[in-house]
Subunit: 154 residues, 2 copies
């Protein structure tokens, strides 16, 4: 009998097929393998970790393909990318607790000081074994400058 994890895993595989079809994307072995690798772990692997996972089974896959397929997954909504938008470090002279507003259009990061957000505590029992030291909330959206502008592609 299949357990819950296995069942949800099958669901996700099915979902991949559906989403690929509806976006006119080919269901290549690489995409399947990369999806399986990603869906079977919950620790947010890097491109290289996914590459390692699949290259055991798929001889001769390219790291480039992993990069491309993962970005494809993000664009069709079956995966999420966690990183700073432009892979550039940003610095801040304000060391007090505060949160961030990131504009998805221009990449600008604004501060949000709001004491009502400064004492969040995850519910007991929800936390995997982990000692929390600090936290920060990143709100994503559109800044006033970008809202006014007509969308320019690229």
């Amino acid at each position: 009998m299949k357990n819950d994890l296995q069942r949800s895993y099958d669901l996700k595989r099915k979902e991949l097929e559906t989403v690929c079809r509806s976006n006119g994307l080919a269901l290549t072995i690489q995409r399947r393998a990369i999806f399986d690798a990603l869906a079977s772990r919950t620790d947010h692997p890097t491109v290289d970790q996914v590459y390692e996972d699949i290259s055991e089974k798929l001889k001769g896959v390219s790291r480039t393909t992993v990069y491309r397929v993962l970005e494809t997954f993000v664009s069709i909504g079956v995966a999420t990318k966690i990183s700073n938008p432009e892979s550039k470090a940003r610095f801040d002279a304000d060391t007090k607790r505060h949160h961030h507003l990131t504009c998805i259009a221009c990449g600008k990061v604004l501060d949000l000081h709001d004491p009502t957000l400064d004492n969040l505590v995850p519910r007991e029992g929800k936390i995997p074994d982990f000692d929390i030291l600090d936290y920060s909330i990143t709100f994503t959206g559109i800044c006033s400058g970008c809202r006014k502008k007509p969308l320019n592609k690229h």
Copy 2:
């Protein structure tokens, strides 16, 4: 008469001096200039933006110095760095709303599903002109694996 911004700015300059002294760090013109540039803006500049700002005044500064000084500032606590810890993108097949636990020791990212954190709304009037579309909380701390290990320098 000095306004509030100017006053807090002077305070911060003084603070830089104090912190540098107490850490045995020299108060170079580069460090002063980089600190001033950083403290005078609230939009989280990139290294290059800081570099542009200071190179107007300081002829012949090196980008390398900006990199090094900003990291120094982070290590003595006068600045904060905003970016993914290892400058590697991470991916996730879980597209439902959830939050993250990032281990500062090993860089691993774990999921935190907790409905009590899923309906945060910044207090009215606190938000700069900005349309919020989504948000995510990143908790930083030590994962169970790293807690057990003795700290190994590297």
